[in-house]
Amino acid sequence: MCFLSNLIWLSSNLCSNDAAQPWQFGFQDGGSPSYEGIVELHDDIMFYLILILVGVAWMLMSTIRKFNWNHNQIVHKYLNHGTVLELIWTISPALVLIAIAFPSFKLLYLLDEVIDPVMTVKAIGNQWYWSYEYSDYLDQEGQSIEFDSYLVPESDLEIGDLRLLEVDNRVVVPVDTHIRFIVTARDVIHSFAVPSLGVKLDCIPGRLNQFSLVINREGVFYGQCSELCGVLHGFMPVVIEAVSLEQYLAWLSDQIPPYLTKEGYTPCIYLCITHLPSVC
């Protein structure tokens, strides 16, 4: 009874977040144009899916009801071949497949494009944590920003933290910025996946895969490794924190030891500003 009332309450108060929720129905809230495109395609396909489901179910039920031996004893023995019927049941599904295929290909190729990104983040899968590199920014010694991102164990969680999803170091990126993610792995195949950003890409040792990402709004987006990679596969989450440009610059200056120039920026921040002309 309690379960039923909870289910009813959940159905009437449907809410989604940037992480999966217990008993969640449907998709998470989107945070990127890629994700919105995927949801649009899903809804397009659902339209045809419902049409086919209801049509086929009707035909099946009607056949069972009307054309069984008890109900209809007339055997249509001369109905061995029907050219028109065959044409209908061949061409109709073909038209539906074409209607589904074209938007699907369009989205697929759009998601594959990485055109003129403003910054690059490299994500490397390890057994069982993620390493990240921001190679656009260098310190005095020529080192880029690099850090590892481990799951926060249950004993260290604070109130509001998500179990099995929280990490010690998040990937911080600015909103409304065209970012290129390069993904790879050091040991076995992993998969970098963040559902609410419409991202899922295999990380393969010795190979670089890439995708582009523009995040529409500030937020913390959670994902998990999505390729079975060993015993702790379920314990290497991905957390992307999208912040405003100002907050991003502040985070950057925390990552690299600051040495201020005349303008008041560290060189890395200056580099960032020159890299992000459209949003500065």
Binding site: D43, F47, R217
Partner: protein, 57 residues
Amino acid sequence: MALAPITGILRKRLIFDISAGLGLGLACSYAYWYGVHIPSVRKRDAFYAKLAQEKSQ
């Protein structure tokens, strides 16, 4: 007693079933489209419009 004609029963039945099945299917599809898809798109667009307004202020 006159017997009911038995010619054309299958054809009529098939035409009826195809029309009814696809018609009902189309009605359900449009119910999904206007009942689920369009409201969610409106909700999303309203959110981003509000966000854009907040950013511009």
